[in-house]
Symmetry: C3
Subunit: 347 residues, 3 copies
Amino acid sequence: MTKTNTGNFFEDFRLGSEIRHATPRTVTQGDIALYTALYGGRFALHSSAEFAAVCGLKPQPVDDLLVFHLVFGKSVPDISLNAVANLGYAEGRFGVPVHAGDTLCAISKVIGLKENANRQTGIVYVRTTGFNQQGETVLEFVRWVMVRKRDPAAEIGPAEVPETAPFLPPGRLVFDSLYFSHYDPVLAGSPHFWEDYSPGERIDHVDGMTIEEAEHMLATRLYQNTAKVHFNQHAEAKGRFGRRLVYGGHIISLARSLSFNGLGNAVKIAAINGGRHVAPCFAGDTLYAWSRIEDVWEIANRPDIGALRVKTFAAKDHPCADFPGDEEAHPQLVLEFDYTVLMPRRF
Amino acid sequence: MTKTNTGNFFEDFRLGSEIRHATPRTVTQGDIALYTALYGGRFALHSSAEFAAVCGLKPQPVDDLLVFHLVFGKSVPDISLNAVANLGYAEGRFGVPVHAGDTLCAISKVIGLKENANRQTGIVYVRTTGFNQQGETVLEFVRWVMVRKRDPAAEIGPAEVPETAPFLPPGRLVFDSLYFSHYDPVLAGSPHFWEDYSPGERIDHVDGMTIEEAEHMLATRLYQNTAKVHFNQHAEAKGRFGRRLVYGGHIISLARSLSFNGLGNAVKIAAINGGRHVAPCFAGDTLYAWSRIEDVWEIANRPDIGALRVKTFAAKDHPCADFPGDEEAHPQLVLEFDYTVLMPRRF
Amino acid sequence: MTKTNTGNFFEDFRLGSEIRHATPRTVTQGDIALYTALYGGRFALHSSAEFAAVCGLKPQPVDDLLVFHLVFGKSVPDISLNAVANLGYAEGRFGVPVHAGDTLCAISKVIGLKENANRQTGIVYVRTTGFNQQGETVLEFVRWVMVRKRDPAAEIGPAEVPETAPFLPPGRLVFDSLYFSHYDPVLAGSPHFWEDYSPGERIDHVDGMTIEEAEHMLATRLYQNTAKVHFNQHAEAKGRFGRRLVYGGHIISLARSLSFNGLGNAVKIAAINGGRHVAPCFAGDTLYAWSRIEDVWEIANRPDIGALRVKTFAAKDHPCADFPGDEEAHPQLVLEFDYTVLMPRRF
């Protein structure tokens, strides 16, 4: 019997089963620095312990997307080692903040299974939850992924596709202990408050960032994400694209970092409503990003905080100054990311 | 109205105005490790908490140039987002040491403005000061930078060019709490004390280091330096050089790291007297460095510490064993960096 | 007199002399994160402070090979600056665990010298010992390296070649304070306990990892290893291979990281019995690895812990699914690494 883990194939998943993922991970100050070096993030809440303290959090919480990548990474060996494609996300909801010193674990529950017509693959829907060492939820999200069958002839039960909400309602956002009543917009680097944004508004984030092989591999390993397609040029040279694929989450983090220019006070991601990797990215691609404000929500009893639902788009090798009429159809589009941010109000 | 920050153009600067920069930054142990990984520094004061404690500082202070890059990085979005070239530095003076856990902020004062004859650009002179969370100065320096005008026709006031000192006098160096009375040169890795250096002496630092795109981008993002020319190959391909430019500070740090071989006991930079980026650097270039001792200063009432004013030169793709008669005219020269270091005396 | 350190040549070494190495190094949380980013390690003992605490160690010890690289790096400027090749290791024995905050130093004793017949070079054998700030041994090992003579005509004493043991006997392994009685294999990511492995068993680690220039240089600088061949493309272009050589230790760490798939519970390296860099590696190479179980040892009075002597092989650009009959003769072999790991027993 081989001792090598071959990962789960489509027919190995059982509806309703819970999978406890391996490799608990203590987040360190080193992760904070590496995350900054990889993306150049400037959101003040994550950059400064002093700024975070003024917002009610001390020390500074680590970047929300770093939490996402770490929790996602844990699920890879069990869920997507035999994946063909990562299809989508929904119902992402951040819980208690994560600080250096916290240890993260993750569990996934299989909430849907649907074989594809060709019987070669099927779609697995899981709800993945990340916890800290006290058992508090730091993040939960649904994702669905196309997974190969080991044996195309294997019999699969009736399709079960879960309903997911198009977005997390503002009432379900978590922001206990976060206060913007003494928020300093000059230190934060943006004069624009929640009141300044309107539904339908578009923001070009202007700058571009070119991806290098060393960078996306450093990032993906930092997240202990073992998906094969990111690391092995010898094998990928014979694969679909002839090249190593960049982890989709790397693109999300690059787009988020670029979005500082225009959304600098969107210091906290509270929800991931959805996401779609429209096209693969490779080393050498230059990423540009722009955003569209989807919704503007007041928060009950909180005159200091407002929420924005934002859709950030990333395109490769194409600046976004000419907002297309229909973003979703941009020919160079690689990412559509729908999320909810918390922003200070002018009060 | 766009929410994107387009940065200040030459006509936006006002003489005497003070600009409070954004993005306070908590320095972490992760920055220490990344700085080591980027440059391979071996100066014992920054490498070892135990060695630093023997020198009166505990824990180890972070590398002086890391402080420089972080403070410099904060000034970029306000001062040099529309820069054509970073022209020079003067009167750099390090203050209290910075340790992991400190949070750095920065302010710049506009101390000079001079339009260029072509009216397309002008030179902005600023004095930038970095502070820690207690408001103590960690570093101040003057820099001047050529900035584009938004509108070449804009009327500009009379030229004002500040006087800057050619070097910081030894009496103004800061080294409270630094003691070399129990300095161990074997652990430090160099047998050469302050007494061993003479004005005019030249030191070849021998080794060469090749620059990679991923490295200079990781470094520059770590410093939250957003200057566009370092990151966007898609745009730079059509630019002046066809390639991404390496942040000049990356070259300074590489040269400093190479200088360990010959200046291993120059553990503390106390002043940056001047600096000039003679030519641009690109990924693939190999940096070599050599130094010339400019001055040798005793420090009043401190038998344990001496100061050296050093000029370190970096050249690309050219070993420095054949010291040119006139360093400043070396055809491959990319950097001239004039600074003052503190060194243990043999007592 | 030049102040540049030219390193020791073969004729500079004296049998029995002890060399105290420079550059004490405080290990930080940043090193932990960078090590994860460089290799993607998933061994739970090093990934999680909570998991380590359950094993009797808190906080998590840093990766054993990181300790090896740091101690090795210290010895380079004195031992192998003028090396032609790093020939082998023996009698490596890990001592007390290393945690973030510890400061490491190293000493080497010259235990053998043997001039080569051509009189151009000779083999230097050293026993290198790494200590923490309390003077406790964290690691000792023997290595031998071929070093150039400065002057081929220099007279050398009679050859002295030390005997080294083929492996460290299990009775000499150090594992005080390590307990596997509450070990959780699901969190660790592997269902295979010590009892499941048999001598002669082979394990294909399946995955491949491609090496980038930026990565191996970041790693080697992180270890403050200054060997010239890793960093200088300008000089290496004219050298033996036309390219920068990857530090051999980088290959060891990559192979160890790949070995998680099949040896996931081998969370602690206790000994390095031997190692051989069979062929050089370069950026662009893709590493694959497989292992052969050499020995299976019970540990007296410890029903929770067992030891395995493992030989891990790394090959470049060749998957290892077809285990060769004779691993040591694999045409693409780059590394043979013989070491002893501690693993939980099923009790």
